[in-house]
Symmetry: C2
């Protein structure tokens, strides 16, 4: 899905919500345990309940890998179940030397080899340009590079001063020479609302993937105040607040109610910004 | 395996060789294609041919993920095939917010959940302390943190000057507050021989995992000149130069010859340093 198509989806659904599909077996409703693959059934019901309200799904690969071989199979089947017109993000935070990143690109973009072909993958920037390049060679795919994350540890290195600015600013500035806003997004944590203005100066046209709404505590209004651009430019992720809105038999219904609530807030924001 | 046991293995085998198990289906000998799982058979024969000559095996997860579900199964079965007294490294370069890194720790350290329990995992430092912490909670396991990598892109961010030194120096300095040399190693590329003296000043007691010998072009003598410490302190990886020493029916025999050649060189180095 290209940038124009993504913006069309956002306008059509009046939503820039990304739902994080991060299931933990211990946390899913007990009545699903009767299924052969309870986690897959959970994901399917969450997708069915939210697919008209969100524009993206983002499975975090860690949650699937932690379940061993069955987990990897669940990741594949989850990707396969997501409707084609919804943007898919492998939240994998990969990155390695060039020939190895090419293998990760096969793993998440090359359906003939791996049975999965996400629209985008999250990538860690530490190893530099040749660790990111192989993903960009898939011209219809996206790299979402970690810039400023929402966790406490963001201050350990990302805020380090360098001669040309903080490290995360350097990540944005330097990586913007590797690809344009048609292929490159950045991860920017919602808990860093005050930094969004600065980030928009460095990356005016790029989409930003924003985790940290909901359980991680960021404010949607703050993020949008500084983060919206003329093509929306934001994908705001919510995982736990939606998928665990209830842990009972009504989990899908409650997930839908929570997603509606977020979508309505997003609709007002898009209207106020005259984007719809 | 703890640090003392690792050093005992090094002294016993007169080797600090780590063999990188990074198989690509297109590159493995044609006569193996008759097996139900040719890549697994390849790995098994490489392990059989080299297990008395190396102290560690390091499968890079990208190579397995690129083969889809069958690849993940091959990773599990490869780990299971490695003898218990050999150090195992999941070269996965993971790292995420705390609760997610805990899932990655389950994926690679918790056999009950994932059927794998490597001794160590490589981790990317960009997200800071709480992205590394969950791995360190497995007290008998190791984190191998990326410090200075061997690829061209290492200069994009790792060499950035900060008020307290280059970024990779800060990664070593700050992370050394998170764990001691009993649980923390660093990745240091062999192509950076001149930086080893500096790194040993910052991390005198830590083991360093050194990729880049062989196909990537580093010199073993240079690395050891600066990198050896009183417990050896080095694991030197070689992948392609060993596993693809021949692409014919004699691949295992040729891999063994190549591993013997490296082991003999290491034995001389250990003797000269009076470590054996």
């Amino acid at each position: 899905m290209n940038k124009k198509q993504l913006f069309e989806q956002i306008k059509s659904k009046k939503s820039f919500l990304c739902v994080g599909l991060d299931p933990v077996l211990e946390n899913i409703p007990k009545h699903l345990l009767k299924y052969e693959n309870p986690v897959l059934e959970f994901n399917k019901q969450i997708i069915d309940a939210t697919k008209d309200l969100c524009v993206a799904y983002k499975p975090n690969t860690a949650f699937y890998e932690s379940m061993g071989l069955k987990g990897w199979e669940t990741l594949i089947k989850t990707w396969q179940y997501i409707p084609n017109d919804i943007f898919t993000i492998a939240d994998a935070k990969r990155g390695d030397i060039g020939n190895t990143s090419a293998m990760y690109a096969d793993a998440f973009f090359n359906e003939a080899k791996s049975e999965m072909s996400f629209d985008a993958i999250t990538v860690a920037p530490y190893m530099g340009k040749d660790s990111v390049g192989p993903f960009l060679e898939y011209k219809d795919k996206w790299v979402i590079l970690l810039a400023l994350t929402s966790n406490a540890g963001h201050s350990d290195f990302q805020l380090h001063e360098t001669p040309d600015g903080k490290l995360y600013e350097e990540v944005i500035r330097i990586s913007s020479q590797w690809a344009g806003s048609e292929q490159l997004m950045y991860v920017v944590g919602a808990t860093r609302g005050s930094e969004f203005e600065n980030i928009r100066r460095l990356a005016p046209d790029n989409f930003l993937l924003v985790p940290g709404i909901g359980a991680q505590g960021g404010s949607l209004a703050d993020v949008c105040n500084y983060g919206l651009n003329k093509e929306c430019g934001l994908l705001v992720n919510s995982a736990r607040a939606i998928i665990y809105a209830s842990k009972g038999e009504d989990f899908a219904e409650k997930a839908r109610e929570e997603a509606i609530s977020v979508q309505k807030e997003m609709e007002q924001i898009l209207l106020s910004a005259k984007l719809i």
